[in-house]
Structure formats: C-alpha cells, structure tokens
Amino acid sequence: MGEFRRAGRGLINKDNPVHFSFDCKTYQGYEGDTIASALLANGVHLMGRSFKYHRPRGPVGSGFEEPNALVTVTRGKGRMTSNLRATTMEIYSGMEASSQNRWPSLGFDAGAFNNTFSMFFPAGFYNKTFMWPKSFWDKVYEPFIRNMAGLGPAPTEVDADVYGSVYGHCDVLIVGSGPAGLAAAIAAAKKDQSVILVDENAELGGSLNSSPSVVIDGKPASEWRHKTLKALSKASNVTLMARTTAVGYYHDDFVGLSERLTDHLPILEGNQIREKLHRIRAGKVILAQGAIERPLVFDGNDKPGVMLASAAQDYLNVYGVAVGKEAVVFTSHDSAYTAAFELADANIRIAAIVDARIYIPTSLITMASDRGIDVHVGKVLSGTSGKKRVSSAEIYDPTSGAKETIKCDSVLMCGGWTPSLHLWSHSKGSIKWDAETGVYLPDVANENCVSIGASNGDFGFKAALDAGSKIGGGRKTYTVEEPIFGTGEVFSSLPSYKKSSKQKAFVDFQNDVTEKDIKLAVREGFRSIEHVKRYTTNGMATDQGKTSNLNALEIASKALGKEAPQVGLTTFRPPYTPTTFGAFCGYKMDDLFEVTRKTPIDAWAEQQRAVFEPVGVWRRAWYFPKAGEDMHTAVARECKATRDSLGMFDASTLGKIEVVGPDAAKFMNKMYTNPWGSLKVGAARYGLMCREDGYIYDDGVVGRIAEDRFHVTTTTGGAPRVYRHMEDYLQTEFPELDVWLTSTTEHWAVIALNGPNARKLIEPFVEGIDLSPEAFPHMNVREGKIFGLPTRLFRVSFSGELGFEVNVPAQYGKAVWEALYEAGQQYDITPYGTETMHVLRAEKGFIIVGQDTDGTVTPQDAGMSWIVSKKKKDFVGKRSLARPDLTADGRKHLIGLLTEDSNVVLEEGAHIVADPNQPIPMDMLGHVTSSYWSESLGTSVAMALVKDGFKRMDETLYIPMGGGIVHKAKVVKPVFYDPKGERLNVV
C-alpha cells in the first residue's frame, strides 16, 4: 500500500488490485477506485489542462460536479469516449485513460502560452478579435477557433457499442441514495408503494459513505447503510439502481434515467448494452440530490492540489486516499472543520485552518486546538505557489495587512454549499433566494415532486433522515449523533492586497473564467446573468457550472450593485450530466433508425436490382439499370420503351383515402377547388386541393365508385397531411356532413401501365369490365376482376400515354405485377422507376406538388385557373384566392423553359435572371423547379417559377451558374410532348 493510502477506510476492495494506464504509464489502484482516487493514491494530482489557458489542473471535486479532471478512455475500435470525469470513472484492469487538451504532453503543454499572455485573452476575446477583415474569417479565424475549441478529441469511428431503451413506471421515484433518499425509500416501501431508487454513483449511500463519525439509531452510518440497502434489495417492490443518472425531468413526472452498465467492466462480452435510457413515469418524484460544495474564489485557486474540502473527505473515507501530506484548509463555513479533523485524524497534517469569517463557533476552535491546528480567524488566502502542484499558500490578514507563507501540498477550500436544484428546475418548480445562506432553494413545485434533505437546504443527517421518512409516508424519527454541520458566510469577493487585474481567481475552472472576467462583462454593459454567462462562458463547459454558477452570480450581482435575486439565475436544462448520444438513440440505429415503408412490389424490384431512392419514409425503385447502364442510359431506355410500347410502374405509394357517406360529394366540393356533384359514377377527375390560405396543398385523381363513395388519391408524401386536413374540416367545420374517411393507402397495390400496348396487355385478364375506348374512356374507373382477383381499374395517365392503373388488394400486388410482367414480354414490357415517371410527367407539364409548387403557389400561379370553380359558393381556399395579393401582378408563374443548347440540363433550384450582366446581388426572377433530359424529344426540358412568367412567353432568360457559366433559355408553355393529348387515345 502506497504512502497515500490509509488502511481500514473506504469501500474499495483491497484484495483486488487493479492495474490501469494513464497517459501510457501504468498505475495500480483497487477495485472500487475511480481514475482520480487511484491517481491521487499514487501522488498524482495533475490530470488535465484547462480549456482556454491550458493551465495545469487536478481534481477539484470527487464526483459528477468535477470541472477539471477530464480524461479520454479508449477500449478498442469505436470505443473512445472523451471528456469523462476522472472522479467518476471506475478503473478496471487494462483500462487506458489519457489526459486531454495538451500537446505534446500533460507535463509540458505548448498551448499554455495562452496562459502567459492571458492578459490578451479577456472575456469576450473571441467576439472582439475575430471581427475583421471579413476575408480573414474562412482562412484564419475559423480554423484557429476550431483548433482551440473542444477539450477531448471527437471520435472518428462508428460507435461499436449497443445502447438500450426501456419504459418504466413506479409509484415513487427517488433520486439520490443518501440518508434522505434511503429513509424515503424505506418508508415508501413499507407503504407498499412501488419504488425506484437511483444514484449516479457506483455505490449507493451518498454522504453515508463518507461520514464514519455519524451514528444512526445506535449504529455507525456505514452499518446502517449496509443494513438498509440489504432490506431494500430484498423488498420486491423496490428497484435499486446504481450508476444511474436522472438526466432530465419532463412533464407529468416523466424522468429520463441513464444507466451505465459496462463502462466499469474489465471485459465486454458480445452485445452487452453499454448504456440504457429508462423513461420512467412516476406517480411521485422525491428529489434527494444533496448539495455541492462551493469553491472559494482567490488568486491561484486552480493549482493542482487545491480542491474542495468535502472532496478530500470523500477521497479519504470512500477510497482510503490521503490527498496530500500537509494541507491548508481555507473556509467560510463550519463544515470544513469536520473535514479538517477527519483528515488530521488520518495522519494528514493540517498546516492551518484559514477562516475568512470573524465569528466562528468556539467549539470548533477548541476542537482544532485539541488537535494542534492553528485557526487563522478573519484571514484569507491571497495566493498560492507551485506550478504543477501547489507548494505553499499565502495567508493574508486584511486588518493588519500582514502576510505569511505556509508550506503545503494541498489546499482544501469550502465556500459553503449549493443545494442541487437541477431536476427541480427541469420540472419548472419555482425557486426562492435565501439571503441568510446565500443560496437558491426550491419553492413551489410544478409537478408532483418534492425536494428533501440538503437539496432542499435541510443540512445534516438527522434533518435528511427525518425528512425522507416523512415524505415516504412514515412516522419514524431517527436518533443521530453527528458533527455539527453548522453555518457559513458567503464572500462574493475576498479581500486581497493584490490588484484585481493581477489575480487569477477562477470561478469556472473548466472554461477558465476568472472573477475579473465577470467584473469586466458587467463593466462592458452586460446586465442579465444570462448575458454575463454567454459573454464570459461561465457555466457553459461540460460541468454546466455545477461548482461555479452561484459564485458567478454573487460576483456579478455585487458588481451590479444589486441583490442576487434581482440578477437572476441561469436556467438549468437537461441533461443533468453529459450523456452519450447512444443512450438517447437507443435501439434506433442503422436499419432501425427510421421506419422504411416498402410497397408490396418492393421485393420484386429488389430482385431485379432496382436502384432505390427514399421518398419521405418510402423506399421507391428509382430506375432499373441493365448491365452496363448508368442512370442516364437506363432512364432514357425506360422512357423510350414506355412511349413506344409499354412501361410498368409501381404506384402503390400513392396516398388513398376512401370518402364515403350520403354527403360525400358535398364534402368533396368543400375540400377541392373543382366541382364533384356532376361527376358520374364510374368517372374520375383530377382534383386540386388548396389550404384555407389559397395555396395549392395537394392534387390527385379521384374516382367515383358509387353515389356515396369516392376513391381519392393523394401525392405520395401528402397522404398523411391530406387525411388530417380532411378529418380536421369534417370534424370541426362541417360536422353536419354525414361522411366518414378511411385511409386506404396500404390497402391497395397500384400498378401503372403506360404505353400504346397497355390495353392489349390487360384485355385477356380482365373480367366484368368492357375495356373498349367507347365503354371505358380516359378518366374513368371500373370495378371488376383481373386474374380473377378484385380490382379497381382506373383509366388514367401520368405519362401522356394510354394508361391504366390497376388497383388490387395489397396482398395480391406482387402476384399481379409478376403475372403482368410475364404476359407483357411480348410487348417488351419495361419496368420503370420514379425518375422515368418524373421525366414522362414533366414532358407533359404535369406538376408535382412540393416540387413545382412550394406552399406559396396558387392554382392561378400554376396555370390551373381552369380547375377553380367559379360557381361553387364555398370551398377551402376560395375566399383567400380573392385576396388582392393573390391576384396582383408580380407573382411567380409556373412556365416551361427550353435551353438554347438543348443538351444542357438545367440544375433544379438554379436561379433565373433577366440580365446576367447586372451587378451582384442580382434581381432574381425565380428558380428552376423541374429539369430533365427528354429522350423522346431529344432535348432537355424544364419547368420554372418565374415572376410574371405568363407575360414572358418566348422571352429569353438567363441562368447564371457561377464560374462564368451562364445558360440561356426561352420561356415556353410547360407542355412539351403531345400538346393535344392524342396519345391518350391510341387504340
């Protein structure tokens, strides 16, 4: 056992030594050690470098509040995690940890030149410096900032770990397993409540683990803890969860718990879940998170070896580690005396207790002198010396001006205690300022939640235990012997003989924010604490200001000459501590990341080696390349085959809504711009839907199956929103209409057959439908059978060719497709994908809502005034279409473009101008919405939204592409192919 280990203390397993490496050097610790405790046991305090000045740093705390000791742990490919707190990472055999933000090494860091020149790096340095010239931004400033930013390295490989996600429920969720949490758990368990008790640490027990002198109900705290945990673990209605952080508190008592399952294990087996996010809906939440000790803000308070008094106490009692050989204690609160005495009793020399207060309980001074410790009353530390470890501290007497230097290898500071309000604030519980203790405390709860013990400002073991028991529903009061927790004073600014500008008194250790930075921010006009925070970056590091927020508030409010509550407190937001993305992601990775909707015919397309594209959440066949074909040649072939003979297309993704009921036609009249009453049974019509604001919302072909039944189709992407739109109006505006709506998108497989041979193909297989052109003209729908299976057969075309859409129940989709494909071989039937579908429709000038329209296009803008009924008294959008702005000059119109060089396929989204030589920024008339190579026409075709486009027919416009390339194009009507529509009627 090394010179810094103390026998007979702590929860570590001294029978199981563990070897691990830090910065490539091997150290020995014990099972139960953290990286920090094991390194301290080896006499190592230097564990990291600060963010801005690269100052050498050691651990300030002993837990999740730690700002300084951040490390990177690597365990094989895809398993590197940076910015882990050395104070919470448990060591395991073979662990590889390294320090961060230093180069070339932790001991010698070139970045520390920032420290030497720190006077040039005040608060707001980046905001002030990287301003001009503008041209410097890309090449000089941004690379510089990126290089400086971030502590640990970002992983470059895919995360190899597996994460889990689970929902849970309980009557009572207790956060924190200290005396308050445990007492609450016992009481609630006895009331037959289902209880979940969580604690972020590896060992449950909280402060009980660090308080050997406390006696509860006649038993030492450790024994009481042991007995209580044993009883709780036996209770079937209690779940105990260690290494589990309550990361966020959401509406209606919904709490996210992040459980770390493998980070402490030496060997990972198979697909063990690394971290699991529990989403717990609790009947009631008890917050027993405790309090975090506050550092004191004095010159040199960031040297390795300077730490919180409670942290030194934890290292001694939880890990059996002495943080040094001789320590100076600097405090403004009684509680540090207990820490000092415990350390002294463990053979750590307490060189002095320096207390900034004048009035100190005499009992403490007596107890100190009993141990031979000098108490310096009303004095402060005005500085420390030492580079990579504190070597002495300077005691200053503000009354006499006397200074005294005292040798030490550690300084233990205590500026009071900050109750943890994080989860309470997540839940939007209000807080109140307690002027006496200088802290914020929970006030009025917003959820069914209560804060007890130290997190409620009720310090001491008895107070915590009794509060826990009461809140848990019990009546027990505890008999406790404990050292006095006592009280303290808040010093927002400690006296010093040094000028403020000469001091390095850190408030936020991780982000290197000093007292003078905060004062500077106030001098420069920042008033709100939220602004001071962002300007100085105080509290914005990975520790989110757990140790610094209240000190910053005190300093800012003093500088502003206001009371702290008038300055406010920055907002606490989830997560409470940094949480891996993996935990939030859970199982939703790779194939499970997003639902992929597939049509019934998808498997066939996959077999045929179709190339797919995502369309919303659908996966659609994009094109079907033959050997040696690229997209361009494949699409050209598909287009030509369809126009020449026969193409088949899987249109199953079309949205489908069955509109049924006595008032179905009336309802359709309200929802679409065109009339429906006159539509005969068996006929189909193209419908255009507007929103109430008059802009195009969706379109599609609608067939009237019966007097009271419409088969409505919508765009692929629009199906859910159209259904919602219809339901909304039906339920809320037209409830008098007797209609009901059913989404049938997934019920029908749709096979579109296009080309002059389409009729010939299906004729032999269709029963009960006369397919002759006279009996079944374009834009009609019939019910009958195909291959003996029920079908709704539409004669409709989205290509301009003779076309049919075969609707069959989804389960028959693939069989019917395969049968048609087989039978179609004689016509050289060609399956095509979405790209060819787009080319064919663009050649005809058919719009795609959402591509050729963008939510600001009226039917008139799209050249579709013909479809807007003038007779109907009301339809959704009618009144808005009469607004002057929607009929005014200067609106963008949908027109066609033919490029001067017919080989140039314009880029979709490219901007259009009248004069390419005008000065930048140019007056942009609009943009290209659709653009394709048309194999059938031997030229490119494009559609575009252009200002006053209808008035610009035959005008030449320009499309500047940058780099001196300017395309020239003529404005035409957007129907390029078969403008008379003769091909629809090929016999």
């Binding site: 509406h251 989403r279 917003n446 809320t732 009618k878 009144r879």
Partner: protein
Amino acid sequence: MFLIHCPYCDEKRPETEFAHAGEAHIVRPNAAEQSEMTDAQWSEFMFIRDNKRGDSCERWWHVNGCNMFFNAVRNTVTDKFVKTYKMGAKRPSNAQIQKWKEGV
C-alpha cells in the same frame, strides 16, 4: 412528456399519441359571411392569433388514438393542461377555467 386526457376516450394517454392543432374556437365563416367580409376581416380570421400568455384554448388531435379532434385549456406559462373538452362545447369562461383549476 405530457399525459393528456382525451375527452372521447376518457383516458389519460401519453403525448406521443397526440398532435397539437393550433388555437381553438376560431369559427370558419360560412359562404355568405365570407362574401361579406372585407380583406382585412378575412386576414384577421386567417392569420391573427391571440398567442396568449397564460390560460389558452387549444385544439389537439388524438391522431394515434381515436382520431378525434378536441379542445383543451392549457397554461402557456406552466405548460399544464387545465382541462380537455369535446369539440363543439363552448369556450369556457375565465370563471369556469378558474373553477377547473381549483378542482371544483
């Protein structure tokens, strides 16, 4: 994540089953009213919303549930639902909202 009481299902269900659907009690003018409305009045109906701080009436849709639209009083400061009620019920008075809040 909220638990929202659907007045049609008469059950509290998780927020993921619901979708927010804008401000409640904005009645769409019928055809005759529309034709009499000035452009200014129409744009008031179309675009102007109270966006109230405090108790506010909202529409919600039980989209992944019973598919019904309903109304709710919710406080936009605390985020809390005060009460949900069926479509067609009148806008509650301030006194009524107060009673609901007091659990009367």
